[in-house]
Structures are given as C-alpha cells and as structure tokens.
Symmetry: C2
Subunit: 150 residues, 2 copies
C-alpha cells in the first residue's frame, strides 16, 4: 500500500525542486531543520524531529538520484511501519508549473499511523511548495501540528 | 486502493464534527459553498465546485449515518475514477481531541489523479479542522489551489 500526493509548484523549476530534495540546505528548509548526512547515492541522511515529548528519528538511504527528475530514498531507521519502505519523488515541467509526484511505497497494512503519515506528508509537501514559491517553508519544529502527540 | 487521512481537532467534539459533515451549513463551511441536497440516509448531496475553466460536480449518495461516529457516502456522479467509490468518515474523542479518520475507498488504479485527490483531500480536511477550531474554513471557491487547472 502506498501514500500518494501530487502538487504543482509555480515560479520554480524541476532543477530548483531537486535542490530542495537533495541538499542539506534544501531539506532543512521544508522538512526538518535537523537534517544531516551524506546526500549522494548510497549515503545516509539523518532526519531528526522535535516532538512534544521527545525526538523522532528517520534515517534514509539514498537509492537513486536523477538530476531534476527523480529521487528515491529507502527507510533504514525510523518508525517500525516505515522500515524498508521507499519514498519516491518524480519531477517534471508542465506549462510553467513544476509537477511533484510523491509516493511513500510499501506499507504492509493500512494502519491509523499510515493515515496520519498521509496527512502529515501533505503538510510537508505544502511546506516544500511554500519554500519554493515564497522562500519560506515550515520545517519541524515549526511544522503544522495535526495531532495531540506532535 | 484507498486514500487515507487522519487529523485531530481541538476545541471541538465528535458531535460538532458530525454536524459539519451532515448538514448543508456545515458542508458549505469547509468543502464547497455550493452544496445542496437531502442529507438523510438514501438522499443525494450535490457538490459543485468553481474551477478555472468551468465547474466540477460531485453527487454523493448518503449510505450510512451514525450520529457523532460514522458517515459514509457513495459517489453517484463525478469524475470517472470516482464513480462507485466510497467516502468514509469515522469520529472519536481522545484526550480532549476529536480524531477524524478519513478513507476514500475503492480506487481501481493508482493514477496521477488519485495522487492529486489525496493532496486535495488533505487541504479540505485541514479546512474542516480550521472551521471547527477557528470558525472559518476554506471551502471552494476559496480553497487552496494545488494545480494549474484548478
């Protein structure tokens, strides 16, 4: 089972969105301010999130990088339901818009946490869109809170 | 294939969220201002949306109503991919939060339009959350635009 999202970004380009997905500065601008690691294929990126009662951690292995086209990460560390799943980003230009196709692939069960993550991904993808369109995203800890435990 | 979302709403109750899902006044406050129909089981609700180049139409048959707990609609008219799919809302109270579980069930294929609808549902569910928490949602035509053709 997969989580899917799609947004169009205006005043941008696949190259610029690709930068926001594949560099520390970019990722820190929309997902989480605490992002470190190796951003090349085979490298590991460590994402850390401030939550109400502690810290969340996601470690992503970079599986594939196609400049301005496609980025694939595999989850190496994080919530149990996430381990082994893949995050796939596809970018293309369409009539002045950069189309971002997102897939979080390989969920074993449609648990409530999958529903939460689907909504939460939406808010982070809107943060990515805002970063590109306005220069200002809402990365954790300034992310939009959807639930009591965040 | 299903679209899933989950949000928590504060300063509300399952009863109030249920009102926003089962009355004309409620639905006009977060989904689309042009909402008419019969809101009882077996009735049809007609949702109309202003788009950049015309109008969108979704007709929902009300299948199930469990006060403050569960609402099920079946799509009778609308985009081809939507016909026959179901929209299922489940509500519960949890430590001062009203939990909203959403499922758009029965997509035949993981088409790009499904990815768009997943993101778009997220923005409307955030609109529902805002309506309950602040008194003001963002129903169409004031909805958050995600793509060039909206």
């Amino acid at each position: 089972m997969d989580i899917l999202h799609k947004v169009g970004i205006t005043k941008s380009s696949p190259e610029k969105v690709y930068q926001a997905l594949t560099t520390g500065e970019g990722l820190r601008g929309w997902w989480t301010q605490d992002t470190q690691g190796e951003f090349k294929v085979g490298g590991m990126i460590l994402f850390r999130f401030k939550l109400k009662d502690g810290e969340g951690a996601i470690d992503m292995k970079v599986i594939e990088l196609q400049s301005a086209k496609r980025v694939v990460w595999q989850v190496a560390g994080g919530p149990e339901d996430w381990i082994g799943t893949k995050i796939i980003w596809e970018l293309r230009q369409e009539e002045g818009w950069t189309i971002v196709l997102f897939k979080h692939e390989g969920w074993k069960e449609a648990v409530e946490f999958m529903a939460h993550c689907s909504s939460k991904w939406a808010t982070f993808i809107l943060s990515l869109k805002a970063l590109l369109e306005t220069g200002k995203g809402s990365p954790n800890p300034n992310d939009f809170k959807l639930d009591s435990w965040e």
